[in-house]
Amino acid sequence: MKTMFRPAPLVLTVAAAMSTGCANTTPSDSATSQPATKTSVVEHYADLAHAGYEDALITAKALDEATDQLLANPTQANMKAAKEAWLAARVPYQQTEVFRFGNTIVDDWEGQLNAWPLDEGLIDYVQADDYQYELGNAGATANIIGSKSVNVGGETVDVTNLTPELLAGLNEIGGSEANVATGYHAVEFLLWGQDLHGFEQGNGERPVTDYAIGADCTNGNCDRRADYLDAVTDLLVTDLEWMVDQWAADNSDNYRSQLMNASSDEGVQKMLFGMGSLSLGELAGERMKVALEANSYEDEHDCFSDNTHNSHYYNGKGIQNVYTGNYRRVDGSVVSGPSLSDLVAQSNPELDTRLNAQLDASMKALGVMQSKAESSQNPMPFDMMIAPGNAEGASIVNGAIMALVEQTGSIEKAARQLGLEALSPDDAGHAF
């Protein structure tokens, strides 16, 4: 269980309201619509979250169906289709990560869906000589698929029937955060397998015959592997259904209603805190700078599929969505409404212009990373960019880091502009 235990939390000081002269300025571009208010901006934020999780659910259902197809008929074509469905499911989900920091309900829930890095030996067979697991993790080689019961740190669990509930209960077994039994990265591992290429070209090479029925089965336990994949994809769908409900309008008993009943300053603070935390500490720091400076492909986010560049790209997009109030859905339609950008522009148009330009610059830098990784000639995925001595790769990753650092500086300024003096991390509800 995650608990916050701070003897005396940092104080969130909410300064007096902005000077009325500034606050009453009407946005120039929308003379007919009402000026954005903190309340309308928070309401639209909830709409963005709802649309994002709905898209994550739609694409997770497609993934669930594609894996069902694969398990019923394990062919190369069905394997390819399942992988494509997984890649498509990451696009909306990564854009929702910006809702995680600041909204405790999301942060407490997301570990079951997106925890990383994971010690994949908990789930299935691994090639031991190229497998570095978390120090002290007794579950790192438990191999649930290969066993009827697992013993981790003195705790024995019967794993005969691989149900979604059982697998959810195995997360963090033995007290190690690297014991991730469910979620996108578990599915990724079950589709791609271990990436044994290190800094070289290539990702996981799991043969489709790992799901073959009968004598063609490779690496053993194909039936249990199939049950496992079936259970984790089902769980992904039910988990996302729950989160969609939390953000639905016209429900007096969900998270959205709590958010709307709280002060609008609190809501705006959550929005900015989520943007800044994902931008600096998580994306620029944990997911890129650590991997780059330590040349550590163990710290690569989507390491089995080499889809890390897209995970980063859509994380960045999510930050931009929250500021601009715009989100392009998976069906191509656009959700838009009152935004933080509108609010900041009311009292400091120059800051708004700058922050918008910086968000664009970050997307451009992440776009360079994305196109280099997917280039038809000499593609350079993220794990190659961070290799020792790869100056070109390091410069691409550093470009993205610097752009994110710069935009975070302006996010802090925007918070101050909107009268939020301290961006206390305490509301995030996760361990520091």
Binding site: M1, Q132, G276, A294, N295, E298, E412
Partner: protein
């Protein structure tokens, strides 16, 4: 997991904060801070050079006694680093120097992986090789691994094996060069620092972040007070040498000598004498627990009756953090910005 000492620096936007707007001559405080932090950096340079010399001497003529001397030299230099570790701005931000000194935490045991990779390789371990091998190779944890790691010391590559000695000397030299460059650059940084009002905030924020790191990451996390509640020494720094708690004390000592003296004066000038006194007392009480608490953390985590000793240290550290970060900083109008610990 997080590494708070990421050298990502936010462009501070606090030019209009109350601290600076008030009519005290902030440059006086900064001049004193500059001098005191400089002393800390010079100590780091001296101790790092001593480590490099001792490592070289040991590998020239290996002996059991020489190994013990090298361990002591490592500890002295590592603790000198702990004293200045909270300074997260200025020249230490260049070239990821903070990470070069100490890549931490390392849950995936990258240190061991990198060591194995370098020692298995045939290419000579040159300064260039160390320069391009990334931060996990370049600092105190790598030297600690070579000197202390149980598995490594029982293996075929244990010191004083030839390549292992090359790595020991190479990394120690790298640390010494960084120590010297940092002390020099901090000296050159003087006028930029003293003349810029913004650095008062930056300095207070560095101490706040350092205390937050100490309380949350260096104590609460290995003690199992966060996350899933599991106690694990691998989340502490310097677990291989058993110097985790000695390092805690060194950081408090560094903060006390380099930061709190001037910070107290600043509080006193603001008629916050009571708060200043409370903070100084709290820092002294922590240091009074040493050297008795200068013990490896692992046995204290394993035994509930001994765990209480750790809890008491933790409570004292968290009280100091609360006094500085919540009471004093708020009093002075210094606000916490985003920092690299705002992830999961």
């Amino acid at each position: 997991m997080q590494r708070l000492t990421l050298s990502i620096c936010l462009i501070s936007s606090l030019a209009a904060a109350p601290l600076v707007a008030a009519d005290v001559n902030s440059a006086d405080y900064r001049a004193q801070w500059h001098t005191d932090i400089h002393a800390g950096y010079q100590n780091l340079a001296t101790q790092s050079q001593a480590l490099a010399s001792q490592a070289g001497a040991y590998c020239e003529a290996p002996s059991a006694k020489g190994l013990e001397h090298t361990k002591q030299a490592w500890l002295d230099a590592f603790l000198a680093w702990q004293q200045v570790r909270y300074v997260d701005f200025g020249p230490v931000e260049q070239k990821n120097r903070a990470w070069q000194f100490q890549f931490w935490p390392d849950p995936k045991n990258l240190i061991a992986r990198k060591a194995t990779y370098l020692l298995k390789d045939e290419a000579a371990i040159t300064p260039e090789k160390i320069n391009e091998s990334g931060v996990a190779v370049q600092g105190f944890p790598m030297v600690e691994y070579l000197l202390y790691d149980q598995t490594f010391r029982e293996g075929e590559r244990a010191l004083p094996a030839d390549r292992s000695c090359q790595l020991l000397v190479g990394v120690s030299n790298h640390i010494a060069e960084n120590g010297e460059a940092l002390a020099k650059d901090w000296g050159d940084f003087k006028s930029a620092y003293v003349d810029n009002d913004q650095y008062t905030n930056t300095t207070v924020r560095a101490a706040m972040a350092g205390l937050e790191l100490l309380e949350e990451r260096r104590l609460a996390t290995p003690m199992g007070l966060r996350g899933n509640g599991k106690r694990t020494v691998y989340r502490a720094d310097a677990w291989r040498s058993g110097a985790s708690l000695a390092a805690v004390n060194a950081t408090v000592l560094g903060l006390d000598q380099q930061f709190l003296t001037t910070f107290s004066k600043l509080l006193n000038d603001r008629e916050q004498a009571y708060l200043a006194e409370r903070i100084e007392e709290q820092a002294k009480e922590i240091q009074a627990k040493f050297p008795e608490l200068d013990r490896p953390m692992a046995p204290l985590l394993a035994d509930n009756s001994q765990f209480r000793v750790l809890q008491s240290l933790y409570v004292h550290i968290s009280q100091l953090t609360a006094l500085v970060n919540d009471r004093a900083a708020v009093e002075l109008g210094v606000v916490r910005g985003f920092n690299s610990s705002d992830g999961d």
